[in-house]
């Protein structure tokens, strides 16, 4: 089929225009602005400060704390989601009655907007009338009268809990897709050779589904490192739950008119970008491995 190549450029042009204006240019601008001190408030002079904003990052206790919280949230939630996701995937991979309905139900947490499900959970964690609060009291995780979302430590666990609720079923569905492509006859052959179910799991299932898990895991890590919605809605970053994205938005928007914070906020944005890019590169590398 002979088509002029120039037609292709016209067809791609609108896409490139849009992503240039609202993705590449803003990214470049964030880098550029991070070397300046400026404010949206009129009367504050914009001046070049070099790397000063970046030097200040390490001295900023609130930033360091947000970084710690983000790493804690990411490591804990992604680990739980992966392990639980694998277990659930193995369960719904079995044949049983009403399997279709259970698999459909697993899409529900993903389908509800995070902002909305966070409010549903905030109600369930309500210090006086929350049903989850009642449950945690009954099991003995907390003593009666403890406000879960008002206690440092506990609040972060509640946030992780909500994230695990939202993401695990989805993770399970992705892993399930990986399980479904493993051919049945491998299992049959192993059975004939006398391998029991535990051996079959560790020698066949796990190695074959590992690439799928790895990709899902890195994908989730990228998401967890920039977590915003659930934290912002459940606690607004109070009681030591502030993550990088929540702190970043606070510096950029809440302090936009109070002082020369915008350059510093841009430096935080660049930091988050770099952090996520490291994982993105690992992600791409692991994909290449998989395609080879």
């Amino acid at each position: 089929m002979k088509i002029k190549g120039s037609a292709a450029y016209w067809m791609i042009f609108p896409t490139l225009l849009i992503i240039s204006i609202v993705a590449f240019f803003p990214l470049f601008k964030t880098f550029y602005d991070s070397f300046f001190s400026f404010s949206l408030r009129p009367g504050i002079e914009r001046r070049f400060v070099g790397l000063e904003n970046y030097k200040n990052l390490l001295r900023d206790v609130r930033f360091v704390n947000a970084l710690k919280n983000t790493i804690f949230f990411t490591v804990v939630s992604v680990s739980i989601e992966t392990v639980l996701g694998l277990i659930i995937a193995l369960i719904v991979h079995q044949k049983f009655t009403l399997r279709g309905i259970v698999r459909a139900a697993m899409l529900v947490p993903w389908a509800i907007p995070t902002a909305i499900s966070s409010q549903m959970w905030r109600w369930m964690f309500h210090d006086q009338f929350g049903i989850m609060t009642r449950l945690w009291e009954r099991i003995g995780i907390i003593t009666p009268g403890t406000p879960i979302l008002g206690r440092p430590g506990l609040a972060m666990w509640a946030i992780i809990f909500v994230d695990v609720w939202k993401t695990t079923p989805f993770m399970a569905l992705l892993i399930l897709a990986g399980l479904q492509v493993i051919p049945e006859d491998i299992y049959e052959a192993a059975k004939i050779d006398g391998a029991n179910s535990i051996q079959r799991f560790f020698k066949i299932t796990l190695p074959l589904v590992t690439p799928t898990i790895a990709v899902a895991l890195i994908f989730r890590t990228l998401d967890a490192l920039r977590v915003f919605d659930v934290v912002y809605i459940m606690t607004r970053g109070a009681v030591n739950t502030e993550t990088l994205a929540v702190y970043n938005r606070h510096v950029l928007m809440d302090r936009a008119f109070t002082g020369a914070w915008f350059g510093y906020g841009s430096a935080i944005s660049v930091f988050i970008f770099m952090l996520i890019m490291i994982f993105a590169i690992i992600y791409i590398k692991s994909l290449k491995l998989r395609l080879d």
Binding site: M1, I3, A7, A8, M11, I12, P14, T15, I18, I19, V22, A23, F24, L27, K29, T30, D33, I91, V92, Q94, F96, L98, I101, R103, A104, A105, L107, V108, A111, I112, P113, T114, A115, I116, Q119, M120, W121, W123, H126, Q128, F129, P169, A177, F219, L225, R226, F228, D229, Y232, L244, N248, R249, L252, M253, F262, S266, S269, V270, I272, I276
Partner: protein
């Protein structure tokens, strides 16, 4: 032994099911309870009295219908724009040989890796300079950019799998590239368009960070922002019954849509998650 194992297995299955749907169930139950039953130390799983007062109030006492309208406009236009712009790119990537294709593809896909927070401040400044803060356009543009990578990726995979012969025949008959795309390729790709369109719509309907930052008047809030910033008569008094009613109203259509299209969504998402 077999019976024990079976019981245990079904126990786990039921646990998974309840775990997934309980918050939605609880939101619904809470929304139809009158306040005196709602604010009770030991709430009941099945409401003793039913009222739809909260559903009436949510539209009467606040501009929630306006918020729904905002979300429909923003998510709807974003979906149409992403599909229109994205399918052009996807088609040329799938079917036309041109120089720099790999670079173009990596540029487009790299956008899907951008953390939104990293461009939040700059987009705010740009929109402010263009006087687009508090406008639909100010949200639609960034949303389209966010959704284009997945659209292009899924659609170009889809286009590649269509039989080439029909397009060639159309081309020989003198149809232009655009015409072939419009009257032959797109109709044949309806399932792919529906799946990506749905994912785009859901992503835009759910987006929170940009909507929270670029829309600063309550009558311009989208649904997630309106629900996140739900206020009562006083600062300390959140009308939980109304809040849950609002949550149910906007979640139900979404859940039903997802259940209807579940197979396509899972296929589209795993394509996006695995390769995008």
């Amino acid at each position: 032994m077999n019976v024990v194992r079976k019981t245990l297995f079904y126990g786990l299955v039921i646990l998974i099911f309840v775990w997934c749907v309980f918050p939605l169930y609880w939101a619904f139950v809470s929304s139809i309870k009158p306040d005196r039953d709602l604010f009770e130390k030991n709430p009941t799983f099945i409401p003793r009295r039913i009222t739809f007062e909260n559903y009436v109030k949510v539209f009467k006492e606040r501009p929630f219908h306006v918020n729904i309208k905002n979300s429909i406009i923003v998510a709807g236009v974003t979906t149409i724009l992403s599909l229109a712009v994205g399918s052009l790119s996807a088609y040329s990537i799938a079917r036309i040989k041109f120089r720099g294709k790999k670079i173009v593809m990596s540029l487009i896909l790299s956008v899907s890796m951008f953390p939104q927070i990293s461009i939040l401040g700059s987009i705010f400044l740009i929109l402010r300079a263009l006087k687009l803060i508090n406008t639909y356009t100010g949200l639609i543009l960034p949303y389209t950019a966010m959704n284009i990578p997945l659209t292009v990726w899924v659609l170009q995979n889809f286009f590649r799998e269509l039989p080439k012969e029909i397009e060639e025949a159309a081309f020989i008959d003198g149809a232009s590239k655009f015409r072939t795309l419009w009257s032959i390729v797109l109709p044949m790709s309806a399932p792919g368009l529906v799946a990506t369109g749905l994912l785009t719509f859901i992503a835009s309907w759910n987006e929170f960070l940009f909507a929270l930052t670029f829309m600063q008047r309550p009558n311009l809030y989208t649904v997630p922002v309106a629900i996140a910033l739900f206020k009562g008569a006083s600062q300390y008094e959140i009308p939980w019954g109304q809040l849950m009613a609002a949550a149910v109203v906007v979640t139900m259509p979404l859940v039903i849509l997802v259940l209807i299209f579940q197979n396509r969504i899972i296929a589209g998402l795993s394509a996006g998650a695995m390769k995008g």
